[in-house]
Structures are given as structure tokens and as C-alpha cells.
Symmetry: C2
Amino acid sequence: MKTYTYKKSVALFKRAAKVIPCGIYGHLSPAPLVPATDYPFYASRAKGARFWDVDGNEFIDYMCAYGPMVLGYNDPKVDAAAMKQLKSGNCITAPAPIMVELAEHMVDTIAIADWAFFAKNGGDVTSYALMTARAATGRKKIVLVRGGYHGVAPWAQAAGHPGVIDEDHSTIMYVEWNDFEGLERLVNEHPGEIAAFMATPYHHPTFVDSELPAVGYWSRVEALCKKNGIVLIIDDVRCGFRLDMRGSSEYFGFKPDLACYCKAIANGYPISALVGTEALKTAAAKVFYTGSYWFSAVAMAASLATLKELKRLKAPELMMARGKKLLDGMIDIARSHGYTLNVSGIPSMPSVYITDDESLMLHQDWCAECTKRGVYFTSHHNWFISTAHTDADIKKTWNVVDEAFKVVRKKYGM
Amino acid sequence: MKTYTYKKSVALFKRAAKVIPCGIYGHLSPAPLVPATDYPFYASRAKGARFWDVDGNEFIDYMCAYGPMVLGYNDPKVDAAAMKQLKSGNCITAPAPIMVELAEHMVDTIAIADWAFFAKNGGDVTSYALMTARAATGRKKIVLVRGGYHGVAPWAQAAGHPGVIDEDHSTIMYVEWNDFEGLERLVNEHPGEIAAFMATPYHHPTFVDSELPAVGYWSRVEALCKKNGIVLIIDDVRCGFRLDMRGSSEYFGFKPDLACYCKAIANGYPISALVGTEALKTAAAKVFYTGSYWFSAVAMAASLATLKELKRLKAPELMMARGKKLLDGMIDIARSHGYTLNVSGIPSMPSVYITDDESLMLHQDWCAECTKRGVYFTSHHNWFISTAHTDADIKKTWNVVDEAFKVVRKKYGM
């Protein structure tokens, strides 16, 4: 099996490093990947479940742009809706009627939603959720799960990160994931002071396994919050519409007060949303919150088309089934080579680790060997399945996975 | 002259109010406009310097989507560049080469820029600028100008706003605009503690006149910051490329360390940028800062095309001249009716008030009467001129302005 080289990617990255901090920053930065030169740095085009890098290499993409791609790149229905809207107008002095249609559709789709609010980043709406909770309760303190990701605002970053100061966390408290008793203790220690508890529907930190909610965890949390007037905020930015069209909280059987969306809601067109219950609508309206492009109609048209197509396809169920098939096969292949592939999280957004090497070097190498053969796997972040990943893609992936295990077995021995 | 009605806008707004907090929130919210029913709520399409509302009314648009529209709505060159990129791909697992080209072009264009960083909101990059300054200096305190606008993050909002808590301002200090001595006093009172001073190139708050920098203000501020190791950040989000292609700081003759861009950089496609000096590149790289759509290639392609077209047209000079012609004529027309029209700020981004009624009712009414006749003027926010506003538009505007003065003179007397 031929392996890829990334000559043009590397040359372009060198140019980038001169005029962009890190060359490529944030979650797309090649820095955390070891070794960096095993991955392509720049994409020249994308279609369906695939992208092509600037060296002409083709990849089955299991990162899906880290989530936004959910129906396949350049989905014709979504693009047609976006182009139709663009011809009328995008970012105008007044919003377009599509804003109302999209809000109505989200209210019809998401179980807890009585209203919707649109912005650009996931982080726009996690911050807005906290402000809404503070406006509603007149309280200041926020409880988060340690290791959870809610964007890059200073309050959401871990203490000690460059640019983050202690004052950014003066009202933030942490509990461990699944630790209901810990949360209850905090609530009792700070009566009438906690505005909100914010968490992802299940725990999906980077560099370690994902963890599902323990039996009874969410219903106990929901009851605790209700009893104590604490706003329960679900950050569904990463999971949204990959578990359940009605909200990932429905999948796990509970009802938050606010839910944050981004990523999968418009197949890559830039939009995020906060949805909430009627009880919090007035507080949400009181908070002044806006942005230059938040009323842009093209992303709203793309979002409405995406939501309709996700519903039509029963996309969460479809992605779960495809993911399960892919992963079951991969576990078997790993076993045939004497390796253990541990899959955590949910099949449409799996966290995958080879457990036979604590240094993670073998795991990282294996991900890179798959990528160099056309199956794009990152080693440190959960993967994403889209509705565009076909049975043929899965079969091709299995072949590459098999080959990559042979390569690492030769390299690392048994 | 026939006046507009907004039946369909009002009906749609009633639907919106059921499913969206405020119906329309933020800077597009009709709430601050008095009376609200004098303005259209929803745009059905836009082209050049005009938009049409859902009732079919046509407006010459002097708000330009509150800044993003700078070359005219649906500029063919910008849209063609965006569409070409969209066919290849937009939001992908790896960035597109256009990211490097755009960064290089911004570095070539903006005087102080040795590097560029891209995000979505203006507020993304004002927050990132503060974090970069803190990472670079190891200091915490930030000085802002009272009444300045830097987005909706809690640190940027005024104390006491719903959802904003005292802790959000624990490291923020304020000085009055143009008060160099006040800034110097703060610097002397907090030696080695101030990470950054952030301000707009000139002061353009809402509800009051804009104020240009006093002679010598910026050079003294620049020297004070340099002497004390304070990062000087210019928020050029609103003014950027409407004063000078090399940066609004060049227009006023000084050099900041960081400059924030959004609005006019991509003619409505969603992108923002932070640019900075080589000395701050390492600190900028250390801050973890990213978003789901920040690598999307379509807005980058639109931005590159926009910047090239702005340069070709000598857009800042063109908009300044068009604005001056428009405003000079309006001042004369006002005078012919016995009114004083006060214009502050710069001609491409003027702040306009009728000074003959302290209650502002007459001014608000006059803006609404212009709008109802097809010239969209807000009463509480600076206006924007684009390169698409023609001499014919200006003449039509003068006719409407004349008629609106007749109407308010009849209503309010002299």
C-alpha cells in the first residue's frame, strides 16, 4: 500500500509560520500530533466524506472538520439553500425572514426549546448561557466539570494557560464528571449562590477516554438543580444532532433549561445557537448580546436545510449504526493483530485508543500510519462520523487499519 | 412623496417574538428606535447600496449592515471569489491555502502587521488581544476608554448590565477619551501592572457625537505605552479600511502593537482578524484560541477579494469624498430649513445629529421620516458609507432629506 508524502503541505506551512502565529493555530494546529509530518496541513478540496490535501492525497475524513461536517462536504441540498439565500442577500442592515423560520424549526425540533438565539461560535453561546443564567438568578457562581470543553473564553480555559489570569475563574467551581455527590456538596456549601451548572451531555475530554453518564446521574442532577434554582445548561456543541435530533439530553433522558449548539447544525456554514425554556426567555432578552455577522442569512438558510435533511435521513440513528459497524470491525482487526482497541463515548463520535502502550507512541504512530494510507484519524481527540460515510468507505478503512496494524507490529514488536 | 408602511415586517416580527428573545436582538433590535414602527424589521434582498424589505420598500442603506457592507451588497468580484472557494471547500479538517495568502496580504497591507490571526467576531479578536497582552507582559490590568465599544464579552460591557457581574471588571480600569493625563496618572499609580491600553482610533460611542483624537494625543499615548511596557491595542473593528488601508492608526499618525479587524474586511462574509508586531507573535502563539469555523475558506477568499478591490478603488479616500459631499449638502439643506445638522467623526463613518432639540425626539423623527421615504438613517448610531453609494444616490438622499425636514418643521414648528 502506497503511503503519502506532504511536500506541498510542508512548504506552505513554512510560508504560513512567517505570517501567522503557530502557522496553524488552535484545534487544527499540527503541533499536538506526533510526528507532525505524518499529517497533511492544508486541504485543497473536499466532497462527501473525503478531502484532498494540497499534495493531491485523498482522505476518508473521520474528523469531519472537527464536527461541522455532518451530511458530507458540499452537500448539494445545503449548498443550494445557501446559494439561493446568497443571491437575495446575506449580512444586511435588517435580518432576513429565514431567521424566523429557522428559530421556529429549532423550537419544533429540540425538546426543551421554546426559543432560539443565533450567533457564530459555540463559545458565543456558552458565554451567553452563563450570562443568561446570571441575569435570571441574580447569582454569580458557575459549576463546571473539570476537563470539560466549552470554548476558549478565559472562564472556559484551565487556570494557568497563557493569557488566562486567576481572576477569570473567581466565580467558577469544578466538580468531577459523574460525581453527583460532589455537585450536591458544592450546592449545599454555597446556598443561593450558584447560577448554573454547565456540562456536556457526556464527558468527552481530549487525550483520554470519553465517559458516559452513570445510571441516574442526569436525573439526580436535574432534580438537584430544580430544587435549588440552579440553571442547568447543556453544552451540546460537539454532540448536538449526533445522538438525537431532539437534543442529546433526550438521549440520556433528562431536561436542561438551556442548550448550546454549533458544529453539526449547518454542515459547516458558520452559525451557533442557544435554545432555552420559556422561563428563561425574559432573562435571555435582557442580556445585551450581538455580533457583526450574527444575522447573516446564508448560514441560517444552510442550517434550516441541514436540520431538515438530518431529520429526513434519521441522521443520528444512521451515524450511530455506521459508527458501530466501523468500530466493531476495527476492534476485531486489532484483536487479530494482538492489539486491544478501546472505544469509548458514542459510535457517532467515538474516542478510540490502542491500550497496549501507555506511552501512547504506538497509538499515535498507528493513527499516523492510517492517515498516510488515506484514512484520516487523529490520535488525541474524538472522531466524528457523518451520514456521508458509506459501507464502501468502511471497508476501505478496515483494509487500511489492517495494514497499519501490520506496520506498527513490525515497528514495536509484540 | 409616498411614505412606506411595514405591514409584513410587523407580522413577521410578531411571529419572531414568540420564538426568539426580543424578536430581533442586539444592534439590529428595533427597541432603541423610536417609534419602532417607523423602520422595516426584515430585509428580503440587497444589492449595491440598497436593500428591499419584506413589504417591497426600497432603501438607500446608510448603515451598511452596521459596517460589513463596504463594496456594495453582493459585490460580483467578492461573491465570485467566495463561490469559487466554496466549490473546492469551506470548513474542512485542514485549512485551505487561501489562509496563507490572506495573512500575507494583510501583512503587506497593514503598516504594523507582521502577522495575522483569523476568527469570526470582532469580539473574538478584542478578547484575544487582551489575552495576548497578558501572556506577553505577565500583567493583568487593562485600561479602556469609558464608553468605548469592544464587543459583548462581559469584560467589554458596562458594569450593571444584565448578566454582567462585578468580577468581570476586576482588572479593568477606565479613562476618559482624549484624557492623556488621566491615562498617565493610572500608569503611574499602577507601575508594572498594566498589560494593555485598548481604544478605538477615534471615539465613536452610541447616542452622542463622535470625537476625534486631540492633536498629539496618540503620539503621547504611544510613547507612554512604549516607555512602560504596555501593549497598545487599537480596536479598528468599526473604522478599519474606512479611514486608511494601512490601518486607521496610520491616518492618525501612530503605531499600535496590535490591531483588531472585522466588519469591512470581507464585505459581509464572516471573518475577523488580529494583526500584530513581530515582538508579540510568540505571546500570540502561546494563547490557545480557536473556533469551529475559524478556518473556513470561503470567508477568507471573500476577504482577500475585498481587500484587493478596496485597494484598487482607493476605497477609504473614495468613501471619505462621497461622505463629505453627502454631508455638506445635508448641512446646507438643514440650514435652509432653519436647522443645525451636527456631523462628527469622519465622513465615511459619520455621526449625525440635529442639535435643535435636546430631547432628541425631533432628530429621531427626522431619521424615521427619511427612512420612510427610502433613505435608511438610524438616530442613535454612526452611519456608514460604502463605495457603492453613487452621486445619484446622494442626490436622491438630498431630496428625501429636504422633504423630511419639511415634515418635522410642520410637526415641531420653529
